[in-house]
């Protein structure tokens, strides 16, 4: 159950109030009719599924009804920042790539009872 900082409400709110809307920064091609089938198919159907930093679009559905972006670590589930539509993320890579990645790997591998 996440706790998410809504950049419009300017406070942390419970996940139940939000809907996830998939990968952020997917721009609709300006001239769809100029796209090849392949390009249009990429826009429609293909999304990243990274292990690590991911930028996601969410909406504060039960709240201010505003869409915004989240930078989230898909392994630790840490939300590293939230930012408004039209803004760019400030976190785009692991703090110190090699160390953090190994540390996370170590932390997450274990015996599930």
């Amino acid at each position: 159950m996440f706790q998410i900082y809504c950049p419009y409400c300017e406070e942390l709110r419970e996940e139940e109030e939000f809907h996830p809307k998939g990968q952020a920064h997917i721009l609709r091609p300006a001239d769809p009719d100029a796209c090849t089938d392949e390009e249009w198919g990429d826009y429609l159907f293909f999304r990243d599924n990274p292990r690590g930093i991911h930028h996601e679009l969410w909406v504060h559905a039960v709240g201010c009804r505003k869409f915004f972006n989240i930078t989230r670590h898909t392994v630790s589930y840490a939300i590293l920042e939230t930012y408004k539509i039209g803004e760019q993320p400030s976190v785009t890579a692991e703090p110190s790539v090699s160390e953090a990645a190994t540390a996370t790997d170590d932390v997450r591998q274990g015996v599930r009872a």
Binding site: Q3, E14, P32, C35, L44, V59, F67, V107, G110, R112
Partner: protein
């Protein structure tokens, strides 16, 4: 008979003036207020509390807390009050408590499965289930029934639970889990800074180990200090104390679920409160914390020796707890086997209770701490470099076999001495309780000095005291206070540092690493040495697993079932890993680690459900006319969360109409006279702004540029993949003002969809969207006589030339300001009357007063479906499923191919797959036999004689009987259907019959649409 033979005359935290009566396995016993079920059973000399899971061996109580593996009971005097999986060590005794052993069929004393169990060592090796019950797979259900019955995993009640449960959403800056010395000190340090603190503890009383401690704090017994701290905390407005509350799950971002047992210490079923209100039996606190302090303490590790499961084998710490907290001694003659000083307390307590300590068997060569000295001073025999290698006895320990051992060589190093005794207590050291830290996903790390795993802590989670391997009381208190103060300062709080109570220093000699005790015979041939008592996993099973090639501890666990189920490896996991490490000649951290999952202890389903059950299971959304529908006998249909009238059966000569009869009558009324539908559930979105029209043109498939004020237009909405997602009529109220209707189920999603595009792609468009679904009530009157009826109630000019089809007008209806829309979902002359919902009932009733002479007939969703399907009007979500384009629907008339903006969905329509000619297309189906109503969802084939599997070419999406056509009819999607008009298709049914149907236009009635224009 019912004497408490093992009860001390004095001592303990029980109230001997309040005797309680309880029943266990049909026998009635006495205990005292303050007892747990376990302490009361021990007091009464009940040795066998269960039969083991796999081998059906008799088992007794081992522990005094949540880690108890054996005394898992079924609770409840009545069928409705049955609760499975209760640990007797955690269940407070109350008068009239009824409990049964979970395992043992037909009884714990005489056990059928025991026969199997005696020889079961050979029949039930590790991987037993996988090996034995796998084939044939079809038999699994049969096996499972008997395995469950004999293994006794508890059973759920067969009657409805009379109790209620609820949820509580809490927020705090600091959540402290565990109210032992570390937790109390941490909570007090944090609370004095004024931060909101929640302190949760799973026991009946807060205080943890201090409740049975020997130690003196500030010159007073430790429990005095506890009382003082609790009094201070209880008086602080910023502190919430939650006793009898287990932190069972640690979820993302410091969201912790706490399970509070509110009345389970009082009675089977929750008694009413003093004010007579119902009380919830259990409450699930959903806590969002800023920071969390885990003060969960440590569990003592038992030693693994032969016969260590015979009743009378206990943890050393449990022995102390039973004596000091409950005033019961679990035997007469004790042998203690230990690897550390701390466990000496059990022998000292036993001795102080006036019972005989036969010997303390210490694996170390020269233990010399204060407690060791104390034991020697009392004349207790201390045997060093030795261990109990085997406990003898069948239903109760009768002797301990003791020998010198060579730990490194893993062998017995001297002659065996047999000591007669009835209790063997063991201690192999302590394992910090790291379950909650594990739930965060962090892997614990092995600490060689502590001989245990310590938690790895994610940001914002802290451990204090025993939970991170600090065991001496003075250090535990200091650690708790320091962690509490540190957390407070992280959160910006500050307070005077806590003055810690003065505490005597006890010197302890170092513990040694001891897990499995060697036996004279090799492990595979020695009497069973149990690692996991609940799942009946032995040291031999683990050794065998490693021999069979299982090297990863994860695989060993799955193969042997170690740590499974409700036990979650609380006692056994570390010993199991140590044994695997020994067999694989590796170190414990090399073998792997152990991670635990929620829940820490079993949680009753009632607490998970809370009040979301029965009439409050899910919201029921009502229109403003709901009461009328109820009073007029409507049957209801769920549409999303809405309750919509489905049909209105009349009672004719004492007999209610069937749905078929009611729908036929309602259909005829609409086609021949006038009917009325409550259409208030349709989504309605108010759209304002100079760019409203442009926005509509982008979001809908059709054109909006020229829609004049006073006009309505049907629109189709696609996703950008070209698939239809919603439809509805949008009306132009003014140049910059529209009202859009959506499907009932799609209202919220479509509003979000509009916002998505506006906020993320086209913020430059000046337009706003506001839901007005609930503001307006919508009453649809439809049928040839609808104009006559409405004319009696309105000041609007209803003349067909001034108020045309697809126009809307403002005016009053029955004295209420209204917007009336001339749109039609039935194909008949229709007026949709919209009024502010407060007045809906007034208008509706007025329509019926005037409608009587026209036999105004209310109709429900079923008739609505028949009428619209006769006209070939689709229902998005029924005739479409997210894979249907406007062209598949034959609705090219509703697509603006040449609009300037490449609207949502347009580009996809020319993708190769979307443009295929043989896509499934919407058509009508007319069964050859008019009496047949095809099944919705039925698959369609072209050739019924084709060998199975037949190529399936489509399916029925809507199907009804039409009283107007006097025939069944259907809408369906069929491959290339638009080019197959007049052809026959076939629908093979489950019963082997095959229906034949003709592909037709989906419009069955009034194809030119003349009736709605009259």
């Amino acid at each position: 008979m019912n004497q408490q033979v093992q009860r001390l005359a004095q001592g303990g935290r029980i109230d001997r003036s309040r005797p309680l009566s309880f029943t266990f396995n049909g026998q009635t016993y006495q205990g005292y207020h303050g007892d747990t079920l376990a302490s009361a059973l021990i007091a009464n000399g009940v040795d066998i509390v269960n039969r083991s899971f796999k081998y059906s061996r008799p088992r007794g109580i081992v522990a005094a807390g949540a880690e108890e593996p054996n005394a898992v009971v079924q609770l409840g005097a009545s069928e409705a009050a049955q609760v499975p999986n209760v640990r007797a060590t955690q269940q407070a005794l109350y008068d009239g408590l009824v409990a049964r052993s979970t395992n043992g069929w037909p009884s714990v004393q005489k056990d059928l499965m025991g026969l199997v169990g005696k020889v079961g060592g050979h029949f039930m090796p590790p991987g037993f289930y996988y090996k034995t019950f796998m084939a044939p797979a079809s038999m699994w259900m049969t096996y499972e029934k008997y395995i469950r019955k004999s293994a006794g995993l508890g059973r759920s009640p067969a009657e409805a639970d009379p109790d209620i449960y609820d949820h509580f959403n809490r927020h705090c800056e600091v959540l402290v889990i565990g109210a032992g010395p570390a937790g109390l000190a941490a909570a007090l340090a944090a609370a004095r800074s004024g931060l909101r603190v929640i302190l949760a503890d799973e026991q009946e009383e807060m205080g943890g180990s201090l409740l049975d401690s020997h130690e003196i704090l500030d010159g007073q017994p430790a429990d005095q200090w506890v009382a003082g701290v609790l009094e201070e905390l209880g008086g602080m407005a910023n502190v919430t104390l939650l006793p009898r509350t287990t932190a069972n799950g640690y979820h993302d971002h410091h969201f912790v679920t706490l399970h509070e047992r509110r009345t389970e210490h009082l009675a089977d079923c929750a008694p009413a409160s003093a004010e007579g209100a119902r009380q919830s039996r259990a409450r699930l606190h959903r806590v969002r914390a800023g920071q969390v302090i885990l003060a969960t303490g440590a569990h003592e590790r038992p030693l693994v020796y032969a016969g260590n499961d015979v009743p009378g084998n206990l943890l050393a710490g449990a022995v102390s707890t039973y004596i000091r907290r409950y005033g019961v001694v679990p035997g007469k003659r004790l042998v203690l086997s230990t690897s550390n000083d701390h466990a000496y307390r059990a022998a000292l307590d036993w001795h102080a209770a006036g019972h005989e300590v036969v010997a303390i068997v210490d694996a170390r060569e020269a233990p010399d701490g204060n407690l060791v000295d104390a034991a020697r001073q009392r004349g207790i025999r201390v045997i060093t470099s030795s261990a109990v290698i085997e406990a003898k006895g069948a239903n109760r320990v009768s002797a301990a076999r003791v020998a010198k051992i060579d730990i490194d060589g893993f062998r017995v190093a001297g002659p065996v001495e047999t000591l007669a005794c009835d209790c063997v207590a063991s201690s192999g050291g302590y394992s910090p309780v790291i379950h909650l830290a594990s739930h965060t996903g962090a892997r614990p790390t092995w600490n060689d000095a502590l001989l245990g795993f310590v938690p790895t802590l994610v940001d914002g989670v802290h451990a204090a005291g025993g939970a991170q391997g600090i065991y001496s009381l003075g250090e535990v208190l200091a650690d708790g206070a320091a962690v509490g103060a540190r957390v407070a300062s992280v959160l910006g709080g500050s307070a005077e540092p806590l003055t810690l109570p003065a505490c005597e220093a006890i010197s302890e000699s170092p513990a040694c690493a001891l897990f499995q005790i060697p036996h004279e015979k090799p492990t595979l041939r020695a009497p069973k040495q149990f690692v996991d008592l609940q799942n009946d996993v032995t040291a031999a099973a683990i050794e065998l697993a490693t021999r069979e090639g299982f090297e990863s501890i994860e695989h060993v666990k799955r193969y042997t079932a170690m740590g499974f189920g409700t036990d979650q490896g609380k006692l056994g996991n570390i010993n199991g890993m140590a044994i695997a490490a020994r067999c694989l000649k590796r170190t414990i951290p090399e073998v792997g680690t152990t991670v635990f999952r929620p829940n820490y202890t079993p949680v009753t389903f009632g607490a998970i459900v809370g009040r979301h059950c029965g009439e409050l299971f899910d919201p029921e959304r009502y229109t403003a006319l709901h009461q009328w529908h109820v009073e007029n006998g409507a049957e209801f249909e769920d549409v999303g969360q809405w309750k919509r009238p489905w049909y209105y059966p009349r009672t004719l000569s004492g007999k209610p109409e069937s749905m078929h009869e009611a729908v036929a009558r309602e259909c005829r009324a609409v086609r021949e006279g006038v009917g009325i539908l409550d259409a208030s559930t349709l989504g309605k979105i108010d759209i304002q702004g100079p760019d409203a029209r442009e926005f509509l043109a982008r979001i809908y498939t059709n054109k909006w540029a020229k829609l004049a004020v006073g006009k309505c237009r049907y629109g189709l909405m696609c996703k950008d993949d070209g698939m239809v997602t919603d439809d509805g009529v949008t009306s132009c109220l003014a140049d910059n003002h529209f009202v859009m209707t959506t499907t009932t189920g799609g209202a919220a999603a479509i509003l979000e969809w509009l916002e998505l595009w506006h906020q993320t792609e086209w913020p430059e468009l000046d337009v706003t969207f506001t839901s007005v679904t609930d503001h307006w009530a919508t009453m649809t009157i439809t049928g040839p006589k609808s104009r006559q009826l409405l004319a009696e109630l309105t000041d609007i000019d209803l003349d067909r030339d001034s108020f045309k089809f697809m126009d809307w007008r403002e005016g009053t209806v029955a004295g209420v300001p209204a917007r009336v829309f001339r749109i039609s979902f039935t194909g008949e002359l229709t007026f949709e009357i919209n009024v502010q919902a407060h007045y809906a009932m007034h208008v509706w009733k007025a329509l019926f007063v005037h409608g009587e002479k026209y036999q105004l007939t209310p109709y429900g969703t079923e008739t609505m479906h028949v009428l619209r399907a006769e006209k070939g009007f689709i229902i998005v979500g029924q005739d479409t499923d997210g894979s249907v384009t406007p062209e598949d629907l034959g609705m090219q008339w509703c697509v603006g191919y040449d609009k300037p903006f490449s609207w949502i969905g347009k580009r996809a329509l020319t993708r190769s797959d979307t443009a295929r000619r043989d896509r499934k297309q919407l058509v009508g189906l007319k069964p050859k036999d008019p009496k047949v109503v095809l099944e919705e969802g039925a698959q369609i084939v072209f050739d019924p004689n084709h060998a199975i599997p037949m190529p399936m070419v489509g399916h029925v999406t809507s199907s009804y009987y039409s009283p107007t056509l006097e025939s069944g009819f259907a809408l369906a999607v069929v491959k290339g259907g638009h080019d197959r008009m007049g052809e026959s298709v076939y629908l093979p049914m489950v019963d082997g019959s095959v229906h034949e149907a003709e592909i037709t236009s989906p419009i069955f009635i009034d194809p030119k649409g003349e009736r709605q224009h009259v």
